[in-house]
Symmetry: C2
Subunit: 125 residues, 2 copies
């Protein structure tokens, strides 16, 4: 049975787009274990506070992080679910790959014990 997969709808664009920048990936990593405000986050990178703020906004739009007001700071924390969504897509690709290998093996097995495949082809002309 084929696993007809729904792939590549545009919803994934912002998700992978957000992950396509090393600063943003590092923010995601930090926000997994730490509980830092935007200002604290910004201190780790060689760019302005506003730039980091924009990266955080991109990540937030992609659903990869969410901000929560804690006192005067807004704490950034990573959203596991979004990471899993991305991973699942890659898993599906891998699954497709395996399926293709399986199909190829089947073909080889068939052709292997049945030379009449060729005969059929030849009897056609």
């Amino acid at each position: 049975m084929v696993v007809s997969v729904q792939i590549a709808p545009p919803e994934f664009d912002p998700l992978f787009g957000a992950l396509a920048d090393h600063t943003r990936r590092d923010i995601v990593r930090r926000a997994i274990s730490a509980e830092e405000g935007v200002l604290e986050l910004a201190s780790h990178y060689p760019m302005s506070f506003a730039a980091v703020q924009k990266h955080v906004a991109v990540l937030e739009r992609a659903g990869l992080i969410s901000k929560q007001r804690v006192g005067r700071r807004s704490v950034v924390r990573t959203n596991l679910e979004a990471l899993l969504v991305a991973r699942r897509l890659l898993d599906q690709y891998e699954e497709l790959w395996r399926a293709r290998i399986d199909r190829m093996n089947e073909l080889i097995a068939e052709t292997d014990g049945a030379i009449d495949t060729v005969e059929t082809k030849e009897s056609k002309r």
Copy 2:
């Protein structure tokens, strides 16, 4: 023991960047199971041949696909390894997440059966 992970080096930028476009993701998907030339690929999308060609080039630079000359066509085929590289990074994030949960549970367990943590703190002043 902490699993000090090396994350977010810039090498991943083109990889995720390539995946951040639905047309390109669809090309990757198609190139997993089919063996199409660039022209055949292009026929699936509502854009010029040259545009698809550029997408293919982006994917190639990211290592996600490779082209192989077959007769006059250049057949596009997906590179599983690159997909796995991307997936492994997401796996590491997930691992970090689990590690954090574990640490939190440990903390809770400690605080739970040991009120002397507070006592120590108070005996300090």
